[in-house]
Symmetry: C2
Subunit: 267 residues, 2 copies
């Protein structure tokens, strides 16, 4: 039996009708704040509400390719620019999460550097970077590991279950900074240790000891790679010029940088 015969013989009504979409949690740091890319919905349901960028998976398109496409459409950044990180987050398929029909959404998580343009969407949709702090999500201090279920109705702002997806993405992001060098994806090609520290402080919503952080990141093999150069000027409010680094070739940090927040017992 050839594939064609299979396709012809297969009864499409034999499986429940489901649509599959890809939604992307795109994070960046703007103005010392963690921001997420949102688009305003132009039609019902949730008309006028903010939502994660996303859409139907196209035929012959891999899930990751769909996420890459959505990311590129909204940010103008080809995700192939290797400075962008894109990973699968999780899938969401509660029966009535979309009132129109059964929709299973495969969510992705992206880290992008601060983009000069304020997200010029190619289509007509209004899109914007929105500070996550203003969205009424559970605190960053929420004990990691404890699943933070979003009460329905909480975080009134976002469409569908996107508040939950965003919350899951944020927790994943916080966790990823611990044991991967992906914090470097939030800054430019060359960066100072202080810039990197501010990434950690912003995502973790916690302050870190500058001296210890400095020694720590330099001691992790493969994390930082020295350029011979320093910045042209010192800090805007004083201080010496700092050395510039590039991301090293490590894929995992060992030993990891653990969040200080963890208030000891994590039950």
């Amino acid at each position: 039996m050839t594939e064609e015969e299979f396709l012809a013989a297969y009864d499409p009504s034999a499986f429940p009708p489901v649509a599959v979409t890809v939604d992307v949690v795109v994070l960046t740091i703007r103005d010392e704040q963690l921001n997420v890319l949102l688009v305003r919905r132009g039609e019902a349901p949730y008309e006028g509400r903010w939502a994660l960028p996303g859409g139907f998976v196209r035929p012959d398109e891999d899930l990751a390719a769909g996420a890459q496409r959505e990311l590129a459409e909204e940010t103008g950044v080809g995700a192939r620019l290797r400075r962008v990180h894109l990973e699968q987050l999780a899938s969401y398929g509660a029966p009535r999460r979309d009132p129109r029909m059964r929709v299973v959404s495969v969510a992705y998580l992206a880290f992008v550097p601060d983009l000069p343009e304020p997200a010029a969407g190619t289509d007509a949709r209004e899109s914007a970077w929105v500070p996550v702090a203003g969205l009424g999500l559970p605190d960053a201090a929420g004990a990691p590991g404890r699943p933070v279920r979003q009460r329905p109705g909480a975080t009134r702002g976002l469409a569908f279950d996107h508040a939950q997806i965003l919350a899951d993405g944020l927790e994943r992001a916080r966790s990823k900074l611990e044991y991967t060098p992906l914090a470097t994806r939030f800054v430019g090609e060359e960066f100072t240790i202080a810039e990197l520290r501010r990434v950690y402080e912003t995502v973790w919503d916690d302050s870190l000891h500058a001296g210890n952080f400095h020694r720590k990141v330099l001691s992790v093999p493969g994390f930082m790679e020295s350029t011979g150069v320093t910045t042209d000027r010192g800090g805007s409010r004083g201080g010496p010029r700092s050395r510039l680094y590039r991301a090293g070739d490590a894929r995992l940090l060992h030993p990891a940088l653990l969040r200080p927040s963890r208030e000891d017992s994590i039950r």
Copy 2:
């Protein structure tokens, strides 16, 4: 516009036809070996080949509920028995992973204790516990973090991309033992520290120092909870009787038990 009007107005042909399935990687330890639950396929494609248990998500069924149902159907274990762990693993949606049509599979990962019955499926399908070691998957020693893509054709045994799903599930399992107390889900309600150590040794495919492991697990707050009791007899080949413990209430291990394998640089 009401929800009803939407449902009526919505054109089902406007979205690409996709089926959504749930596949479950069910792991257990039998006879000192890590085993996965497999079912033999009765129809094409991949007729006669082993596959992960799974099936279409039913209407009105949440993804997790579908995974729970598949798990219960194949093992007879109601996943509500809180000793079973079930978590979402990842989704797989390469365009031609199923030759019949576009199928997106949401994979789940389950840890179950050694089940007395050898997996009596409720339906006609043949099912069995299969040691993962015999499946020709990449080594446990494979550097974590480095994505191990399965070459097509490798691991000839499993249907579809299930070899890849299984490999991802195994890596997730190894990682989970590091920072969660989920190793306890592989043993009985009450267990000795040596039993727990054998779980780690089996999943990590590495040997651990008995004395250090002993002190370590007892020092992690919330990991172990003492019953006042000891085993009736010593080990089968000698040795004193050992104390019995129950799982504590910790959700995360802090500090974590790190795999010894990590050959230093993880690039």
